[in-house]
């Protein structure tokens, strides 16, 4: 399962030649891409995340400055126990400094504790649960791309404003689904809407007709899908089949990725509203990166926001340790430094990292294009709204994270 990619080698002679100061500093880094390499989320992270990490290493230019950076990657199979076992081995035996991706909220929360205990670093770009920067926040973790609070805030509010004031939730029955449902329900109620029911389905179900019939019978105006990946695409497809959308109810994809839209096809996905923080076709910077990325992917896929986050997070990490002059192998120290430094990369633009570990950037509300509006594969989104960085995420005043000084 484990794939080792020796990213870069550099003659030690170079380092020796550089003189005494270089010798004193340890310039080795090991990156661990812990992700779903084989299951329902593997298109969102998986091999693409490893590729993004590789591209970050190449683009950082650290090799030329005498750094030696290795990447390891492994499949946590969406199981927290497997995830922590791998993580433990990586930290204890393989001396991994930094974890990236770590999608699946169940796995992320488990690894979060371990990383804190061992003083390593996690830049989480894949998991959704907002607990990572709230009740479970840690001085070793940065939550980079998105979270359930942000998704709920952006999509939920927009839909209630548009008249969708009664909600029924179809929720994946684990940490992520529960968090997404909880955060969205709060936004719905706060915006004057009502939640009239919820049904929880096991992760990775193939048939949603029973659940959809219950949602249909509830007569709620909005059916909120608090699930992700293959679960969401199957729900959307089967909802069309059971005449839910033509019957006047609206589906709300609370977490959708570009890969899901690609998989559904525009004919089924058109008109869906949802929130992401990255889209390949946003500006010249995102387009240039995505084109390079897609050329190196086996299925020529454009990067998901999770994969883009791996790149962006690592670029910031590399900048920080380079400025520190060497790798102190001390998670708390590096993360504190990363929080002090403003972020800037072509994918997410300029941003900051908050005391609770939350990376701040704008959230984009997208609508899926009609087939006629699309110019070709992967041309899928229309931007319909932007929430500025300082309003997109949970305000610190609502935070229960002990790292936040009040």
């Amino acid at each position: 399962m484990k794939q080792r990619i020796s990213a870069l080698f550099l003659g030690t002679t170079l380092a020796l030649a550089a003189g005494g100061t270089a010798l004193a500093q340890d310039k080795t880094v090991k990156i661990g891409v812990l992700t779903d390499n084989s299951g329902l989320y593997s298109d969102l992270g998986g091999a693409g995340s490893t590729l993004a990490a590789q591209m970050a290493v190449e683009d950082s230019g650290l090799a030329a400055k005498g750094w030696k950076i290795d990447i390891v990657s492994a499949d946590h199979q969406n199981k927290p126990d497997i995830g922590t076992t791998i993580a433990r081995q990586w930290i204890d035996v393989d001396k991994v400094d930094i974890f990236v991706d770590v999608l699946n909220s169940g796995v992320a929360l488990a690894v979060n504790n371990l990383v804190k205990e061992k003083n390593a670093i996690m830049i989480n770009t894949g998991a959704a649960t907002s607990d990572l920067t709230n009740a479970q926040c840690s001085p070793n973790t940065i939550h980079w791309v998105y979270d359930t609070y942000m998704l709920a805030n952006s999509t939920g509010q927009a839909l209630v404003k548009a008249g969708g004031d009664t909600w029924y939730f179809l929720t994946a029955d684990y940490a992520f689904g529960h968090a997404l449902e909880r955060d969205t329900a709060a936004v719905v109620v706060k915006s004057g809407g009502k939640v009239i029911g919820t049904v929880r389905h096991p992760l990775n179900s193939s048939d949603f007709s029973s659940f959809l019939l219950q949602a249909q019978a509830s007569k709620a105006k909005i059916i909120g899908m608090a699930n992700a990946g293959g679960d969401t695409t199957n729900t959307i497809k089967q909802a069309a089949e059971f005449g839910i959308v033509s019957g006047g109810q609206k589906l709300a994809g609370l977490l959708l990725f570009i890969n899901d839209v690609h998989s559904l096809g525009l004919k089924v996905a058109q008109g869906l509203n949802f929130t992401e923080t990255f889209y390949w076709d946003l500006n010249d910077g995102t387009r240039a990166f995505s084109k390079r990325f897609s050329e190196r992917m086996k299925n020529k896929a454009m990067p998901s926001m999770v994969q883009a986050g791996v790149y962006s997070g690592l670029i910031h990490y590399f900048k920080t340790i380079d400025a520190m002059g060497g790798n102190p192998h001390d998670g708390v120290k590096v993360v504190a430094k990363m929080k002090e430094t403003p972020t800037d990369d072509p994918l997410f633009g300029k941003g900051t990292i908050r005391a609770d570990g939350r990376k701040l950037h704008p959230a984009f509300l997208f609508e899926v294009k009609k087939p006629a509006e699309s110019k070709g594969p992967w041309d899928y989104y229309k931007l319909v709204g932007t929430t500025p960085a300082d309003q997109a995420f949970r305000p610190l005043s609502e935070s229960v994270c002990p790292l936040v000084k009040k």
Binding site: Y41, D173, L213, G230, N234
Partner: protein, 295 residues
């Protein structure tokens, strides 16, 4: 009460897939004594064949129903000729491990090239007669909105299941097959080519899996892991019904679909587990399965 009827019907629809798949497994186990773990991967190949037929050659759903089982069936027969036949007479475990390995390889190859999210395949919109658009749309039954396609799945798979049962239990060919399982040497002495019959039987079982794959393509995404997700449940169905019992696997398939549907209504969190709880209960009370013969 209305909701309950709807759940029963939905359960029956899922049961159709369980029945078709477990029937194929039962045929293969009954005749070849092989626990075919590659069944899920072959089911997935059926769906992918339908997808390729449509997108590469423009051949639509109705032809795919015939062509995909043949194509995948031939692939299955090649597997049987080149690999499985050497395992005849060995412990079940060898067949299980070999087919499990094949399944992993096939799934890995597909996932490598097509990712995990899957590909779209639409419900056929032809023939168009009056207001009918092929199998698209649905009928309002009063207690639920029944998609026409789902209704078609139930009826079609019921017909296929019964036809297979008839072929094996009631025809001359079926009699040869059953005899060849009991005593291959004696049947060979009558001048019947037993190895060829075995190959064809494996092809038939595999074809049934591929057919189920084509049927499910418009409902689910065409995904490399679609079979892996389903196969474990289907194995539980076969165990409950009794390994090798044709009628048993058909009836259990439909029945378990209904039970699962009811669980999704009354206690949805347990819907992925209920089949296995039943399996444990059946194994405790009647280890040969509900309709199975003693090994």
């Amino acid at each position: 009460m209305q909701a309950l009827y709807a759940q029963l019907l939905v359960g029956l629809i899922n049961g159709s897939f369980y029945a078709l798949l477990s029937l194929g497994l039962a045929v293969i186990f009954g005749m070849l004594n092989i626990i075919n773990f590659a069944h899920g991967a072959l089911y997935m190949m059926g769906a992918f064949t339908a997808y390729f037929l449509l997108n590469l050659t423009g051949i639509g759903y109705w032809w795919a129903l015939i062509i995909a089982p043949i194509v995948v069936g031939i692939f299955g027969m090649i597997l049987e000729r080149t690999m499985l036949q050497w395992l005849a007479g060995l412990d079940h475990l060898y067949g299980l491990l070999l087919t499990f390995g094949i399944a992993l390889i096939v799934q890995g190859v597909f996932q490598n090239y097509f990712g995990s999210s899957g590909l779209p395949y639409a419900i056929p919109d032809y023939p168009q007669i009056g207001d009918w658009r092929g199998l698209q749309g649905g009928i309002n039954l009063g207690f639920m909105f029944l998609p026409i396609y789902r209704g078609w799945v139930v009826i079609f798979s019921l017909v296929v299941c019964l036809a297979t049962w008839f072929l094996i239990e009631k025809t001359q060919l079926g009699a040869y097959l059953r005899a060849a399982t009991e005593n291959p040497t004696l049947v060979r002495a009558f001048g019947i080519n037993v190895p060829r019959m075995i190959t064809l039987t494996y092809g038939l079982g595999v074809g049934l899996a591929a057919l189920a794959g084509v049927l499910s393509a418009p409902i689910n995404q065409v995904r490399p892991l679609m079979g892996a997700d389903l196969i474990i449940v289907v194995f539980a169905v076969v165990v409950i019904g009794g390994m090798g019992s044709i009628m048993g696997s058909i009836i259990t398939g439909f029945a378990l679909g209904v039970i699962e549907g009811l669980t999704k209504y009354f206690y949805p969190e347990a819907s992925n587990t209920v089949v296995f709880v039943l399996m444990v209960l059946v194994l405790l009370v009647k280890p040969t399965g509900l309709t199975g013969r003693a090994a």
